[in-house]
């Protein structure tokens, strides 16, 4: 990751070098799918191993029963649900970067939104695992689906868990389609430049894309519409997840500010994860010219903003509980800060609210290595947040008889670790098979920026390009 010190001057100001040849863009991206750096293979093997551990743990738990997780009568949920919420949160990054930033015409998203969307899809697939493996009778998980059976019984549509099932299904479908549609022109490029099974695959997937203006026109509208659908969907998904808790009567869960709080947390962890993968992919696939310092810089600023929002919502939740003066909830809050779990609570506060301030320093923002670790710590903080939402409430609750402290067993930890393996496996395979930088959109970016950087803008351009001029470039870099 050290070759990013070549032509600093460029990197300081420009999101991307406008003079880059379009053919080169094609070649770089297509090559990335052929020969990545060694690190890629290391990561792949690592993920596979982790996933293996998860499989083993699941089999073990299936054989011996849920008790192996050391869950108990008060702690019916623990790490599984925390990780579920965590992974759902992760998935909001893609929506944020591609959908929201697309709507506000922040074109610096273009080189990096593809893998962000991939992240959305795969973290959803990971999140989907947890509600299933945490079931006592896994083999009956399909009973939550509303299918017509001769028994005349249906799911209970009043249960937030059913809402989860619906929301996640639609979110998964929509985000997969969003990812796919955005990829069609690139698939056409791949189709034109590959051979063998890849060609067959891409030919099939590119649906005979020829780049006609009619196709482009419909493409633009479709992409726009789905983006519009996706944003409210993303919000609804995570607020529904938050309702798993907010709909319950337990102290510490029954909080009205949970939905926005969860959404903010989701965007937060999503951005942090984007930074991590940004650094990794840039290294794996030699994308130094596309995933540039200024873009990372912008993402970091975005992350900081969201971190502040999250902190704020966190604080108003506390104050709401405090001044609401519902004794059990207050006890739970106090126990969070002082009780057996306090170390994790304060860890969450530090990683989630204090650490982001380091993003104020330009030096930090533009240092790949540091950003890599910071982003990981931010996500650790977010994981702790989810854990601190689930567990302290269960350790207190209303009834003193149920007060107890519980530490997850190895099975649960294995599952959580393994989920990262599963995610990594899916993601790494994806970026190897599909172009993880959007070629055509990088071209657009270059095209538009080039025109704006030239002095002689003919009337056609003035008429039609909504892209700001050169001096606007620098202050535009706040994210649209």
């Amino acid at each position: 990751m050290s070759e990013n010190h070549q032509h600093l001057t460029n990197e300081q100001v420009k999101d991307i070098d406008e003079n880059i040849a379009w053919a080169k863009i094609n070649n770089d991206v297509l090559n990335s799918m052929k020969n990545p750096r060694k690190g890629y293979w290391v990561a792949l093997v690592l993920s596979a191993l982790l996933f293996g551990v998860m499989i083993y743990a699941e089999v073990y738990q299936y054989r011996n029963g849920m008790g192996e997780t050391l869950l108990n009568t008060s702690h019916m949920w623990d790490l599984y649900i925390s990780s579920f919420v965590f992974w759902i949160g992760m998935s909001h990054s893609g929506t944020l970067l591609s959908a929201i930033l697309h709507l506000v015409h922040a074109d610096w998203r273009k080189p990096i939104y593809r893998f962000a969307e991939a992240m959305t899809t795969f973290s959803l697939l990971t999140a989907g695992l947890f509600p299933v493996i945490h079931l006592g009778r896994v083999w009956n998980f399909y009973w939550v689906m509303p299918y017509m059976s001769d028994r005349g019984i249906w799911p209970n549509f009043r249960s937030p868990l059913i809402w989860d099932a619906f929301a996640i299904t639609s979110y998964l479908t929509s985000s997969v389609l969003f990812l796919y549609i955005g990829m069609i022109p690139d698939l056409a490029i791949c189709r034109d430049n590959t051979t063998g099974w890849r060609k067959t695959l891409y030919t099939f997937l590119s649906l005979g894309w020829r780049g006609d203006d009619r196709q482009w026109r419909h493409f633009r509208f479709t992409y726009l519409m789905i983006a519009c659908f996706l944003i409210p969907l993303a919000v609804s998904v995570h607020s529904i997840v938050s309702m798993d808790f907010a709909m319950a009567i337990m102290p510490g869960w029954h909080v009205t500010t949970f939905p926005p709080y969860f959404v903010a947390g989701a965007l937060y962890s999503g951005c942090a994860a984007i930074i991590t993968l940004f650094v990794l992919l840039r290294y794996f696939f030699k994308f130094e010219e596309y995933m540039t310092m200024p873009i990372l810089d912008k993402v970091c600023k975005l992350t900081f903003v969201i971190a502040m929002v999250w902190t704020y919502l966190n604080l108003i939740e506390f104050s709401a509980v405090w001044y609401g003066h519902d004794i059990p909830s207050k006890e739970v809050l106090i126990a969070k800060a002082t009780g057996p779990y306090s170390i994790f609570f304060w860890g969450m506060m530090f990683f989630g609210s204090v650490l982001p301030f380091s993003l104020l320093s330009k030096a930090v923002r533009r240092n790949m290595k540091i950003m890599f670790f910071i982003s990981i710590f931010l996500n650790v903080g977010m994981f702790l947040e989810r854990w601190m939402i689930v567990t302290p409430t269960l350790s207190m609750g209303y009834h003193p008889q149920g007060f107890n402290v519980m530490w997850p067993g190895w099975v649960e930890w294995a599952m959580v670790g393994g989920s990262f393996g599963w995610f990594g496996l899916l993601f790494l395979v994806f970026v190897k098979v599909f172009p993880c930088v959007s070629m055509y959109e990088v071209k657009e970016m270059v095209y538009h920026r080039k025109r704006t950087t030239y002095a002689d803008v003919d009337e056609m351009m003035e008429l039609h390009s909504g892209v700001p001029g050169p001096e606007a470039q620098t202050q535009q870099s706040g994210g649209a």
Partner: protein, 713 residues
């Protein structure tokens, strides 16, 4: 009679075992797996009586044998299996209620560790061999049993008289002996009839009538009425909190062994402050006058206002009832107070025993245990039958019961479980469970109901080769050549004739109704108190001085004296006070804990002159600072899979010390030293919190705003 027998046998034929067994398949299989054709067997009856319908439970009356109280029970029988026990409403002792030990009888009955075959020196043998050997070698055998009554006792006595009249030792470590002794001395009635329900105030001094004293079910039933309007006040004085103490409105903790002093202190205040006259009992008056509150304070740490409060409550709520079992002296003082307060005749009435003395219960005591050990050591016992008790477990290590038994030439155990004693015996005769056997029992309550409870089999033997206690006794007696038994082929036949003799009828009509009610009613002879006259009250200062720890081996409903330690249900039923399960613990006061530097869950070693045990502490304020209480029941060395945990505090006791008159072990304090071993493991309890955290869970209302006569409604 044999006809009824055949029908019963047919009725009891176990059928459709598949159904319950298959239930284990549970719900995790899709229906088409378990309901596949031809997978399960189903057996039909041979020739059932018409009231026997598969799938419909029938209730049969019998008698509970889980503790000496012998309550009447109903057993629900379905497809030839007894599934559930409930109290028998016709039994005047418990009137349809039973305690957790009775509920757990089912588990003991179906227990996987029952003895299934006769054993000779641990080797499997046939009944004929075993009985022949017993008949050969058990001449003039002594009997070592638990509390005994009914025709089993008759047979035992017959056997003893036939063979040189050896002694019958009846061992019950948990007993009411001090109370019986004192009542006999003061009222001339060992077992007066108690009316807790009639009392407005009850003062219990070491008499845990809600736990293990007397017949707890009867007492609890009365307690229910006692609490309903007009509500009575319950007070107790004891070193460590018992179940009675845990339900007391006023609970006073006294230094172990000083209970008599406290009661006398109460007497002092009654005489001085309230002017109750003890004119007719000068020496008692002397004793009261002597026991000034300051002296009481010095002896027992009980403050004057506490004494005054008790005295005032006793005066305010009459009639009252004072029950004491701490030791002989205390019980005597209690009876004197009862007389002074005029309770005698109101809440204490003369007992009425049935006329057939031969059936009357032999209430056990630990004195017999000690004496048996002594006699055995002295070689006075050639051979012995052991049944319904576990001397090796119960005896303090100082007695060296194992060694004593070794001195006995020939030992026969009649038991349904292997325990420490059966392993020490030459012959083990497998008894079937109480739910499989015939028998008669006379309860130890002084009521004038004159009932003899019938114990009838609720199902066919689970293990074919076991025999009911009665059948075994009959066979043994026959073997010993007791005359007049030859005509009876089995105990059922004997019992039927015996009962007909008892109620003076040929039974043709009555027998079924007797079986239905589970009791035969016979004549009683009413006695009278010969109260009055002077009573000398003594008080021996406890050996242990202030500041030294005294060990209390408290008995709890549940494991009782340890006989139920092999029942998982009772092991897992949290202890009433500490809420601990599956293991022993030692209760100490926070101050004591601070002194010895122990915190909750620490292992401590408790050492007396006779040995030491190591267990975990449970720290709470319901115990005197000079006392350490280790509930008994656990610490078995050889009582099966489920009774492995815990320690046995009885082993620390000192056989020679103990109550002045009755030399009862249970309440005899033995002074111990305590020191933490350093390791700590969380004591497994139902709940780790003792506080309600301000929630309105078990709410309370103060008596002043509570309308006593309306019962709060």
């Amino acid at each position: 009679m044999s006809k009824t027998k055949i029908d019963r046998r047919n009725f009891l034929k176990v059928l459709g075992l598949g159904s319950a067994g298959a239930a284990l398949a549970g719900c995790d299989m899709p229906s088409y797996v378990t309901s596949d054709e031809g997978k399960e067997n189903i057996y039909s009856y041979l020739a059932p009586e018409e009231y026997v319908i598969p799938g419909i439970g029938v209730w049969y009356a019998s008698t509970c044998q889980q503790c000496p109280a012998s309550c009447g029970v109903h057993g629900r029988v379905r497809e030839g299996r007894v599934l559930k026990l409930e109290g028998n409403p016709d039994a005047s002792v418990n009137k349809g209620k039973i305690c957790q030990m009775g509920q757990a009888a089912i588990q003991g009955h179906f227990h996987p560790e029952r003895i299934e075959n006769p054993l000779i020196n641990g080797q499997k043998a046939t009944w004929d061999e075993a009985l022949a050997l017993v008949a050969k070698k058990s001449g003039g055998a002594a009997w070592l049993t638990g509390a005994m009554s009914g025709h089993q006792r008759v047979l035992i006595d017959a056997h003893r008289t036939a063979g040189g009249n050896a002694r019958h030792y009846a061992v019950e470590v948990v007993n009411a002996r001090p109370w019986e002794d004192a009542s006999l001395a003061t009222l001339g009635d060992a077992n007066p009839n108690l009316h807790i329900d009639k009392a407005r105030a009850v003062l219990a001094v070491g008499a845990d009538f809600l736990g293990t004293w007397g017949n707890p079910v009867k007492s609890m039933r009365d307690y229910g009425n006692f609490r309903s309007a007009p509500r009575g006040v319950l007070m107790s004085i004891e070193p460590a909190m018992s179940m009675t103490g845990a339900n007391s409105d006023i609970w006073v903790t006294a230094r172990p062994g000083s209970e008599a002093a406290v009661l006398m202190g109460v007497g002092h205040i009654l005489t001085t402050k309230h002017g109750v006259s003890v004119a007719d009992m000068p020496s008692a008056a002397l004793a009261f006058a002597d026991m000034t509150p300051t002296k009481v304070l010095g002896l027992s740490d009980v403050k004057e206002e506490q004494l005054a409060k008790i005295a005032d409550t006793l005066m305010a709520n009459s009639p009252s009832l004072i029950l004491a079992n701490a030791n002989h002296d205390t019980a005597k003082v209690a009876q004197v107070l009862n007389m002074m307060l005029g309770n005698v005749g109101q809440t204490l009435t003369p007992s009425a025993a049935i006329t057939a003395e031969a059936l009357l219960p032999v209430t056990g005591s630990s004195k017999d245990l000690v004496e048996f050990a002594m006699d055995a050591k002295a070689g006075k016992i050639s051979s012995v039958f052991i049944s319904g008790t576990n001397p090796v477990f119960l005896a303090p290590s100082k007695l060296d019961m194992a060694g004593a038994l070794a001195k006995v030439g020939f030992k026969v155990a009649i038991a349904d479980f292997h325990d420490e004693t059966t392993t020490a015996c030459d012959v083990v005769l497998p008894a079937s469970s109480a739910l499989e056997a015939w028998g008669t029992h006379v309860p130890v309550d002084g009521s004038d109901a004159g009932e003899v409870y019938i114990q009838q089999p609720l199902m066919e033997n689970v293990h074919a080769n076991t025999r009911g206690l009665g059948d075994i006794l009959l066979a043994v007696a026959k073997g010993a050549g007791v005359d007049g038994l030859a005509e009876f082929e089995d105990y059922y036949g004997y019992l039927r004739t015996a009962v007909s003799a008892l109620i003076g009828s040929d039974l043709e009509g009555d027998w079924n109704s007797i079986l239905q009610k589970g009791k035969a009613v016979t004549a009683v002879n009413h006695s009278n108190f010969n109260a009055g006259g002077d009573v000398a009250l003594g008080f021996s200062e406890p050996a242990a001085k202030a500041g030294t720890l005294t060990l209390i081996t408290s008995a709890r409903q549940g494991l009782f004296d340890g006989r139920h330690a092999n029942l998982p249900w009772l092991q897992e039923a949290p202890d009433q006070i500490s809420k601990a399960v599956w293991d022993s613990w030692a209760e100490i006061h926070p101050k004591t804990a601070a002194k010895i530097g122990a915190k909750d869950g620490d292992y401590i070693t408790i050492t007396s002159a006779n040995g030491s045990i190591t267990t975990r502490v449970f720290i709470y304020k319901g115990i005197h600072q000079d006392a350490i209480s280790v509930p008994m029941g656990r610490g078995h060395t050889n009582y099966g899979l489920y009774a492995k945990n815990g320690v046995n505090p009885l082993s620390l006791l000192d056989a020679s010390s103990g109550d002045r008159q009755t030399t009862e072990l249970l309440n005899s304090g033995v002074s111990v030293t305590v020191k933490p071993t350093g390791d700590n493991r969380h004591l497994v309890r139902l709940m780790d919190v003792d506080s309600q955290h301000g929630r309105k869970l078990a709410a309370t209302i103060t008596a002043d705003q509570f309308d006593r006569n309306q019962g709060g409604a």
